[in-house]
Symmetry: D2
Subunit: 333 residues, 4 copies
């Protein structure tokens, strides 16, 4: 584990220069993120937005037929206050937000969406879902339990639903790099980076049969960040599904990372490990704030780290041979 930075980050819950811890066996990751930190700091920093924040679990039932399944859903939709009360019962931090549904034949899936404060929320939504299951079975005696998780959640799977309906914190990180800084720090041009992004990340991922994803290596940075901050790192599966969008604006490089499914908490399993709590403290995410703000701050920092690493790798790839040369030098060094 090493901390890289300082990364200059501006956002709703932060305006700071921070050293970001990344735990990885792949040591070339550190200098790569660090280079992104340097160029973005020189350019005025990384602006971050938290566009959405929720955690989800989908429950699955079986009806005698499709008509009963559909009718049950239409009735549940009229009783959202009841559903919310059931989902929130017995938890101070759980706030029910919304429900979406699917019917397949006689099967019915309810996707429950909740705020879970500063916890990543896996257990809170499962507990809430458990209560909802019982309420549904009590309310609709013709329905039968199938599963408290119906994969329409979707937890740690590459799907489209998470970014469409929301799961985790939806973070957008962006920066504007003047041509001169591109050249000095990244040995490339705004035009080269923007073109490469279209050809590799947008088109290349699409022809590979990618689903809702267009980036070079969010997964690497996300893994390092999750491990260093005590997160359930298996969530890099949906977390790494994000879109890099770059374009040339008045000669400068507009560079953005849209990462709709960052799942992080500042409390819960893994957070009491000494190095984790130390890291969270250094990142300013253990301060007394309104519920959820520490976790949102952490997500924004994560988004900024991703932008640093993504920008640096794309820049490297615009120059033939640079990537391999760097790996060789760093891993032998």
């Amino acid at each position: 584990m090493r901390s890289v930075g300082p990364v200059r980050i501006i956002g709703p819950v932060l305006d700071d220069e921070l050293f970001i811890p990344l735990a990885t066996y792949e040591s070339p990751l550190w200098p790569s993120v660090e280079r992104g930190a340097r160029v973005t700091a020189a350019a005025g920093g990384i602006r971050t937005v938290i566009h959405d924040d929720r955690m989800t679990r989908s429950v699955l039932f079986e009806a005698p037929d499709a008509e009963t399944a559909s009718a049950a859903i239409h009735e549940i939709r009229t009783r959202m206050a009841d559903l919310a009360a059931v989902a929130e019962a017995g938890s101070r931090y759980t706030k029910f937000l919304d429900m979406h549904d699917q019917v397949v034949g006689n099967l019915l899936f309810l996707r429950l969406e909740m705020h879970t404060g500063d916890a990543s929320g896996h257990n809170m939504v499962t507990a809430g879902a458990d209560r909802v299951v019982q309420w549904v079975l009590d309310t609709f005696p013709s329905l039968q339990y199938v599963s408290v998780s119906g994969n329409y959640c979707s937890d740690k799977k590459p799907t489209a639903v998470n970014a469409i309906l929301g799961r985790g914190k939806s973070v957008i990180a962006e920066t504007l790099i003047p041509e001169k800084l591109c050249s000095r720090f990244l040995k490339t041009t705004p035009h080269s980076v923007a073109e490469l992004n279209t050809k590799k990340n947008l088109i290349g991922t699409m022809i590979a049969g990618g689903i809702r994803t267009a980036n070079a290596h969010y997964a690497n940075i996300l893994l390092g960040f999750y491990l260093a901050t005590g997160q359930d790192a298996a969530n890099i599966v949906e977390g790494s599904q994000g879109i890099t969008y770059a374009t040339v604006r008045d000669g400068a490089l507009y560079f953005s990372c849209t990462i709709p499914n960052i799942i992080v908490g500042t409390v819960g399993a893994g957070k009491n490990l000494p190095f984790v709590s130390e890291n969270l403290e250094r990142l300013g995410c253990t301060v007394d704030r309104p519920a959820g703000d520490n976790a949102r701050r952490l997500a924004a920092i994560c988004g900024a780290a991703i932008l640093c690493g993504e920008l640096s790798l794309l820049a490297a790839l615009t120059n033939q041979g640079e990537l391999m040369e760097a790996h060789t030098r760093l891993e032998r060094g």
Copy 2:
């Protein structure tokens, strides 16, 4: 980190009872995998198959027009021996296997596939790709370099190409559990597990817009296994894209996990950490064997671990309330 087992595994490079190390912050994972180990051992073990083994990198060029791009590809296809020699130059362990290509307008993508011995092979294929890039540019002067990685590889992205064309070790793990053992160890029936798999893993994932994936939580086990054995754990993104298929056969539960993209090595970055080399040794993956066999053995063990955890969770989900109860008990315990 904890080792769970013993897991009884039968396969081309192993016939053993092994304790499998899993590193995770999510402690309920251990007893879950352990339960799967117990029931499969009682049922005679887990059979594993390595159906394929290769590592990939895609290079990306630009031609003046589509005709030139298409013509270049057709010519390269006639010179595969040259291409192989270039890709393998300077590496004892790299064996060129095959190439696939895509044209999009004037862009051309070559997906290079190689054996990389006992290494996971990220760097070996990048080095090979670097040499191929230069050869292509020398051979076709009208082509221009775009990127040594064009996302058609696809490294750590959720796509369809990896399972269709192959990336990593393709492992199938399967077992046959008599009804009596299902009931004793898993508190469920073969019919319940098979039905749940269809409704949750196959249909539930599909309606979520999942891509080439149908399982409950391969990502959790894969993460724990990769971290414990020194792998680049960001590869759980494609690694967790696999398919659980279960059916009732003569009253017993036929249960299989098909995991086409396990990316593991027994040499390379991360393998010299003391706990890693100890784990690899205990798993019998540091023995003097033909090149690649240690890594394939490791992949087969990984597949068996996934089966244990997948079976155990699905069984738990068939019983209303069991999952949450277990989490509460284990995390507080």
Copy 3:
């Protein structure tokens, strides 16, 4: 074009035996659907449900930065009544239903959802979207127009969003076929059909990298139905994305087709062609009913036709050689 049937259909706006017109160059389609009609009629008919009904268009803007894009969306969400008034202005039949949004960097997509009465609604939603575009530009001067359609609609593209958020009429058709009728009419067993559906439609489509789809040939029947009833048949792209789910229930075959994106109208372009209006009349879809009911009835009939054809083909496939034999016989006959 030929009418096949009678198909026995039960549903919210119908309880009839109908002859269903199908226009196709592929003549084996007719006897195939007809066989499905016979066996389902003998089994008591096909029950249909209309689970949802809406038409969509997504508009696309550009903001100076992500923060402005996100803020605009959050403000629009508080002004849904204004948005509805704008979307509905100047159209008697347009009813605004809901909006969903996406931010990617500084780009913002608004997906507008509306009821469009008995029209399929392509033009009504475009007209509504046009008005919304102007209102957004007037309300948020820092936003710039990009496109009245941003592909997040998604019109005639294979995506996940349509079935998750809704587009067109969401139809579920189902039937229960006793074993004896399976054998007599379809030369197969409930078990064989259910197993084949899992192996071919669920698993086979998934390994092909299919997106939100699991069926044998909805596209064929949909095309024939759309052409015969004057629909924009290019909508078979999203319309054919549906899921066949079959299981054995007390020895009988439960067989269902879930088709979330049927896009049909009984008024509008193509409906005045003589053969079209005649077909719509024969199907009982030109009767004086509440707005939208004729189109929903037509969608339910379409769903039943799909079920007939799907069931018949799956049954044929369970018997080695039957499909080819039928094609040879019918096309030469």
Copy 4:
């Protein structure tokens, strides 16, 4: 039905100015394609490439276990000449090309790829697959028949496999439009079209959960072309999965449509209808040529028609209000 043009097309089997027939209920399609024809003709025409040509069917078997399934596949791979002989037996035009496979648990899928001359080839590959099924069952007695089509083909389904492994004719159509012509014919600029393509077709489709597709409306043009030339128009499902790539080159608009799955024939079902044979004749696709060349010529023409319609719509969308205004004017006119 109306013929639009003349379209100026340059390609391997053509260098012509042609009027292209399109059958549709959506009359605004004609002037849209026509505008594309005018501007591309003024710019020197549309260049087309046929990058690949094959038809596919996947057969599905069941083995006692995964090891047997995998072993059978590895043996079949060593007997490709036998397989080819079996697949081609009894057909003058069928040429076996390649096989790809998948194992899922104990299930095994073989995807058979063949040239089918000037026929679209659905029946030829099914007949070939039927023979292969019998040969496999004879050769591997432990395997059982499941289906002559396992959805890994994939026929008329939106998947990733078709473009990755090939199905139908892979066509790339491209053109270079000087800025002045963009302005005169299309009322837009190269920059506007290229930017819109990135934002709408690439990013917009991706966030919708699209699979291997990035275009505005290939489906519309494809439907009209397939119906007018007697094709099985349900193949627009995979046919419309293609990628528009546009960029500014020295001030001009480089515009390309990559359409990997065009499935057309000049002989077979539907081709004897008088208007069809007349259309095929006018397009110069009934001439005495080497087997397959007439169908490839037809596919190239289809690709050019798609480019015309795609370019025209994208250009229209760059101007706020133009699309709706055109629809209103044309449909009332």
